[in-house]
Symmetry: D2
Subunit: 347 residues, 4 copies
């Protein structure tokens, strides 16, 4: 069974494991103050073109979002997210567990927030009987595989400035976004966001996300909040060595490129077979629509999620590629799909 | 510089890294439902002689304590800990951040709770104007390196039963306790505690603690609380493979034995040199007392913490050994100490 | 200026103040254990036909909802509410501040939850990556003045039973509901809900809501949670005497009846003038639609809220009557409206 | 049975009830924006000699402390209190329920914090593994009836300034302190504290505490936090009218003076009978020591709390006077005590 379920099915890029092994017995400071973490942070700052950005390494995305939002907001303040946003749906109320409401904005199939939806929310929150929106959360790429353009990001930034809101970008799949849109860069993201994180787990690392706090007003005492939330690993070296490897050896960008290229090849191939898509394929998550019988037959050989029933006969599915995807498996998928779709159209 | 600062200065036991590398490209389910985690849990259940114990793997000790306590307590309930307990002092208010008071009991130099101190607290919490004690937290070994005996643990268990309290044992250094007292075993701990965790981070793993929920009343929906707290790793395999290695290959017990043997050798050697100790050396953390000048000279070659000033001239220090400790370094430390103490007594 | 803004613009029913004055110097126990509170609770139990129902008196509605929900839910559990539900919108994130998500169901103009909307939410919350719905919150009357029928309540109860959910009824305006629908009674509400509260603040008291916990599984330690939330008044007598007055002297029912009769008279009068309504007038909050110029002219003499623009020329407004409403003012309003509407239709 | 149990056994000063009755049917704005609240706040500002102080009226002391502390602290920050401080012991973990640790300083029989104890705590909280002390909480009068002198308050203020701490004074019995020490005044308290509250519940009101936020850095959005915590009463007039009465008619000061004079008369009388005291009588709570048999006999006629066993034969008790205390009852108590003590000394 070949899995296209997600981008965290395998371990780490082999080079990452090699580095962990190479430095294994060196003794170093705990809790993220090791030399590897220091070097990794300096390296990331270079990519950001911003030596004042504060960087913290944590183990996962829910943890990153929770610590960031908890650290920023006062008790009565809330975060705005798209209805399909990860913090709004798939983090088991982690943000609410820190005391804050997630205000959801209706979002289309692309899962994006817009300046209009943000402004609408702010204008309807008028007094102390309602929470005060203070932070905007967007995911890049979104949970639906779409990618915010530079113009869209710039417009959201302007909207945040006008309304006195901070902007946090969930970059669990930021590598995928950079691979999908060459106009984007880490430096650009650092210019637009107040805070964001660079996802390692879904892009070549065993675990690890690098939180970047650009806005200096939000930097104070962040390590306290991390520790309080169990996000300071005793062996912070585990994160430091991995991010050093990701950026020193460009594994971060190469891993994302591999995932992207495989996804685009797959999308092109499916389109050539006459497939329609739930949303336009943009990044390493694509959502083709298959007849249910074809879907079922494919699922005998490939693991992937059924996403949404389109009608009585057809469903959209989610296919995800990763740093570890092998083009041979993609070719196999396309061949199998072609055979099944042909059989289906004949029947 | 040789470090005796703590037991998390190095990476992982080489066999752990080898296993991670060996299984790296196998595709498996996320969020702790991978085959390695399943196997590791089954193996641990065997060690516990309890197939009904529920096991969950998380990344660190603060996270383990927080998720456990948050999951167990209702809003008005509190946890009792020794004044020197990790949750009371060194977790940046993580328990309070989940809404619960940590009631501290005065504890002696050994850092242990006693049935008397627990009962005193319960009897002074009389009505709804005060929190309701519901859970007892002890660390085995304690933060001061002491080890609860079987009798002490049994007495605390009886006290908890009499007072309607749950018992949680923080086993960040449970391996060290087992190595220190052969009358203890994982199975015994599982008979005494309602919930506990087996520390991997400080005993041979890169990261990882195995939470064991013995009391079935406390097992419901634990994974929800984990996810809410950011404690479900997407690549749960990282924890599964490590705990499989720790217990399949007995690395857990051998690592603890190495730390213990080195600490006892060091303690014996220092005692032979006439050293006194803040507390009797029992496990891999020992607290010898040195003249300040000797301490300072030792710290030029060895890294370790000054723990407590004894008087104007002498200080207790903390020396910690680990799974990675090398007896040659211990011998070196003793030789250096002998030389310095001789010089000191002559002067 | 005559206010139709809300039902809490005046003080208390004069009989309540008389009772407070009458018993003023009697010394009694604090924190709700006074003789008046005990008597009031016994009296309410009689109205409920349920001597096992646990009753607690608190100062306000947000406090009642917060303490109830906080006491019931475990950390990962959530409450379902209509999009327009008070806890979802107008309590400044009070529920989230206790760590729990409020899952909103889309609701129509009537602001009601339906079994279908509840079931949809439960079916879409499938695993530990999402919060677990455990409690349903409805308001009776709703925030839009509508009243759940006995059949609707029964259907929601059945839905809750089928899905393993508790049901909480926010009765800030429960008096208004009883006045509006004679098939309802306190005893019936107590048969349907697991927990609810009887609003005093908006129905003749100075302050005060009586929380009723019918389900014995939810009764344990409730006073602890109240105290923790600052909801145990030192002079609990203030609440006890008022609820004693409300039910001993039937002020509760008479006050609600006065508000209802005034509202119905007003609604009938407006309908006779050709007014349309945003939602069918059912209780003491009604939502007639006026031409904007008429509305503005009325607002020179009467205070009331503009609720919603219907189109460029017309707006729905909210008119609220109370225990203290005087029919002469209602007649005045109708006269004025008639004059203004006539002028408008001529122009 | 005559109660000396506490200072909240009776209702309100009759003038307060008269004012509530007088203004009962006036319609006014809700949620603390009524004309009475506005007038009361202006009046209090005059007493403070500070027109920039922000004033908010809430229903009780636990609520006041909770909202204040929650509003001020960031997640990792903690409040320092005496071991006997109300927030540390008798608020059912209300502060921890908002996520913050209460760090307790050992305190003597007087229940006071000292600059030394505050500094000790700050110096032992060294890094991000521990919470960060940010706020000092003292009660004036203390829970033990003692009164901070101007010098003591000034020294604590200086200590707070030196250490970057805010100072909050719990004034549940601030009236009692002002009556006990004429060098104190509301204006002086407002110069020393960053925030404090003026207790009404225990000094003549039915309910109500006036929170004063002097430090403008702490004023932002306070009403949001109040509303979130259920501390904005719909009929805020109930608080406004009472505080207007308390300060317009000097009931606040007269009530405190009555409690104080009765307590001092009682203390002098007992001293004349040879009684010893647990702590020197300073305010409306006094702690005389009686032979147990005398105590028991007194408790047949007077209600009061046994506070602490002194030895096998004697106990300290707590006697509390209030705004409503009648000197005739005090005289009766002294006569009875004299008789019983005489009998005891003869036997």
């Amino acid at each position: 069974m070949i899995s296209l379920l997600n981008d965290y099915s395998e371990g780490a890029h082999p080079r990452i494991l090699a580095l962990l092994t190479e430095h294994n017995l060196a003794q170093c400071a705990g809790y993220g103050e090791d030399v590897y973490s220091e070097q990794a942070k300096a390296l990331i700052q270079q990519h950001l073109h911003n030596e004042h950005a504060q960087i913290h390494l944590v183990s996962g995305g829910t943890q990153a979002n929770t610590v960031i939002i908890k650290s920023i907001l006062r008790p009565h303040e809330a975060v705005i997210a798209a209805q399909s946003g990860h913090i709004a749906v798939h983090e088991t109320g982690a943000i609410e567990a820190t005391g804050h409401k997630v205000i959801v904005a209706p979002s289309g199939a692309d899962g994006k927030l817009t300046p209009e939806s943000i402004a609408d929310i702010c204008h309807s929150h008028t007094d102390e009987h309602m929470v005060k929106p203070k932070l905007v959360y967007i995911s890049q790429t979104t949970e639906n595989g779409s990618v915010y353009t530079v113009d869209e990001l710039t417009a959201i930034r302007a909207c945040c400035d006008a309304l006195g809101l901070y902007l946090h970008i969930d970059g669990a799949r930021l590598g995928a976004a950079l691979a999908a849109n060459k106009a984007l860069s880490l430096a650009l993201i650092a210019q637009i966001a107040d805070v964001f994180y660079i996802g390692g787990t879904k892009n070549g690392a065993l675990i690890g996300e690098a939180i970047v706090i650009v806005n200096s007003d939000l930097q104070d005492a962040f390590r306290f909040v991390m520790k309080q939330h169990g996000a300071l690993l005793a062996k912070g070296r585990l994160l430091g060595i991995q991010f050093l490897g990701l950026f020193e050896d460009k594994i971060f960008f190469e891993s994302a490129q591999n995932a992207h290229a495989n996804a685009m090849y797959l999308a092109e191939g499916l389109r050539a077979l006459g497939c329609e898509f739930l949303t336009p394929p943009q990044s390493n998550q694509i959502f083709p629509i298959f007849p249910n019988s074809v879907m079922a037959a494919l699922q005998e050989q490939f693991a992937f999620y059924t996403w949404q029933a389109m009608d009585a006969e057809r469903s959209a599915v989610r296919l995800v590629t990763s740093w570890a995807s092998d083009i041979e498996n993609i070719v196999l998928f396309l061949q199998q799909a072609e055979t099944l779709l042909n059989e289906y159209s004949v029947s």
